[in-house]
Symmetry: C2
Subunit: 363 residues, 2 copies
DNA sequence: TGCCCTGATGTTTGCGCTAACGCGATCGGC
DNA sequence: GCCGATCGCGTTAGCGCAAACATCAGGGCA
């Protein structure tokens, strides 16, 4: 007799004989059991300080007894806040995105947020807008976009202005806040390291042309070489995969002038190592190789790979932080008043292992 | 004057001078513009066939004009269905979980579902229950648990019975449906392959003892050896990491009797390869190695790794399918009437590369 | 003693949507 | 030409919760 709503399954009569489980308890039920009004129950949940300790205890124990769980949909409807953060990402199987996602998730968890993901089959304006839209339809409070892609950046320009959005690892010409690793600095360190070992110059095996991360690394590489007055060898590009590293590596291996290579990520470096090995060129005696990412397996490559470690977890944390600030503070407004949008950058770190060595007969 | 609700930000008067954006359109607005009732708008969204084509068109164009987006929270509240699927997973950074997650996500997307994830810091009864609880608080329609861990399995026994749950890769003594790779079959193939190359027996570098996947591989390995009347060497275990593979590999490398090793995953195989190399034992000439997972980099290891490919994407798809069946059909009533819960298994595949070869002087 | 103020609790209302039903109009069959 | 069966759409009534305002008790202070 309680409410007699047209709940489809399971009879609703309280003292019914068999009949399925007795519908989950709602706030009203708790209130009745505790002898208070529903509003007081709500207060116990949201502003416990405003409820007398004794009452609060009574309500809490009623909740326990009924195994009450607040209905999030109802709360969202009433408050306009969902406590859900959306993440749009390209292929979450890749090491970088996966780690970033994980970082975001951990940060979100400790702030009582939950995240929902929309991964993209391909990366372009359409798919990004589509991903954001899918999340928006779920009333997320904000969105983090992991899409370090040039063409993606365009899609970002026409985002819904009423939704806090933060981008991970994009270029710096955007109107949205960005959390990123300083790719340029990482590349600089890698190249400086190689030059300091006596190499005349450094080849670069870059990532796909329209990835902003790849661009940053190319820039850093070129800047150091030019700054030191070295030759800038022709650029080779792969697609991040070990396979592409192998293919380009065969080209490099055939050129005896090549003594130092900076690969834009670890899988490509791995492919490169194999190509060098097959060509009979020893690493690091004849050729030094530096990777980027420092995947957990890098220390076990043949030889153990010198690499630039990216603190993806940190980036994820920053990204979450940025969204949170926008959700809470700015009331959903885009950039903070005046000035360009926030940009949080973290520094990568060079980890030296055995794939780099002093150039034979240097100096 | 439309509704004059206490919306915090932005004045609500229609012809107000400055004042922020004009509140998102709701169903009533669309209805008004199209000259119909809100219910008809709702029908256009949910049962378009029941609306006259002409009316439907009018409504649709009104939606477009107002940039209307249905409010999911309200819909959830009214229907009890959220269209959200929860995924509880250990460290989504690991290759297996990441791929499975991705598979689930793709399957979900094509079914108009969205997924939210709760990753776990550690894996035990408490954390699993906690993860499920966190998701449940978000009114998910169902949950997939990626937790191939013995101790996890216990946590599964006392899941809320009113929530459709599917487990990925768990043991077979559960009361919930399972989607999994047939680990045993994969191990059998790996070991058979090695025996067929003339090796007297096969060592096994296993995963952590309480992982069900690890167990399955151990079982398959042991079964083949015993079935063929071979010696069963002592078992070595790692923790899935390349580092542990390296450490255990040093032990194996020191034993000249070892000519064939089956590693329980690729990173451990990688570490093992390094240990063998450092010990001066050549692969595959002196020692053959097989991995498990077939990560994308495996073909570029030194030497390219023979491995057992796990179709994680498939598993993800099956897992999603299983939940969906439970959400739609069973009305959330746990296992299907009679018989044990469903179990969907996919077969892994052996990919032969250059880390395995005929035993020197065999037969 | 009377007043206002504070703190604890209750009442009302509405968030945006959809299930269930109702009612008029159209339609085919005999 | 009448009747029941559609079809198309509107009306009503909640889903469970929280914001705003209302209420009521007690206590300090003049």
């Amino acid at each position: 007799m309680t409410t007699a709503t047209p709940q489809p399954q399971a009879g609703a009569e309280p003292p019914g004989p068999g009949a399925g489980r007795p519908r989950a308890a709602v706030m009203e039920d708790v209130a009745a059991l505790a002898g208070v009004s529903a509003m007081t129950v709500s207060r116990v949940l949201n502003t416990p300080a405003k409820v007398a300790p004794k009452t609060r205890e009574r309500v809490l124990s009623a909740m326990r007894e009924l195994d009450y769980r607040p209905n999030s949909a109802a709360r969202v409807l009433a408050t306009g806040r969902s406590g859900v953060l959306g993440v749009v990402s390209l292929d979450t199987t890749l090491y970088g995105p996966a780690c970033t996602l994980y970082g975001i998730e951990r940060a979100a968890r400790s702030a009582e947020y939950v995240i929902t993901i929309a991964s993209l089959g391909e990366l372009n304006r359409r798919s990004i807008e589509d991903g954001v839209e899918r999340l928006r339809a779920q009333s997320v409070d904000g969105v983090v976009i992991i899409a370090p892609h040039r063409s993606a950046a365009e899609g970002l320009r026409r985002l819904p202005p009423d939704l806090p959005v933060v981008v991970v690892g994009a270029g710096d010409d955007l109107t949205v806040p960005v959390a990123a690793v300083d790719q340029r600095a990482g590349a600089v360190r890698a190249v400086r390291h190689l030059l300091s070992l006596g190499h005349e110059t450094v080849w670069h095996l870059a990532g796909p042309a329209d990835w902003v991360d790849a661009d940053g690394r190319v820039e850093g590489w070129r800047a150091v070489l030019e700054g030191e007055g070295r030759d800038v060898p022709p650029l080779l590009s792969g697609d991040w995969s070990a396979r592409s590293g192998y293919e380009q590596g065969r080209v490099l291996a055939a050129d005896p002038a090549v003594t130092a290579v900076f690969a834009a990520n670890d899988p490509m470096a791995l492919g490169l190592l194999r190509a060098l090995r097959e060509a009979g060129r020893r690493v690091p005696e004849e050729v030094s190789v530096v990777g980027f990412d420092d995947v957990p397996e890098a220390p076990y490559f043949a030889p153990p790979l010198t690499s630039v470690r990216q603190p993806f977890g940190e980036v994820g944390r920053h990204a979450f932080q940025l969204v949170l600030e926008r959700v809470g503070g700015g009331g959903g407004g885009g950039a903070p008043p005046g000035g360009p949008p926030a940009r949080r950058t973290v520094e990568p770190e060079l980890v030296v292992r055995e794939s780099t060595a002093v150039r034979r007969g240097a100096r």
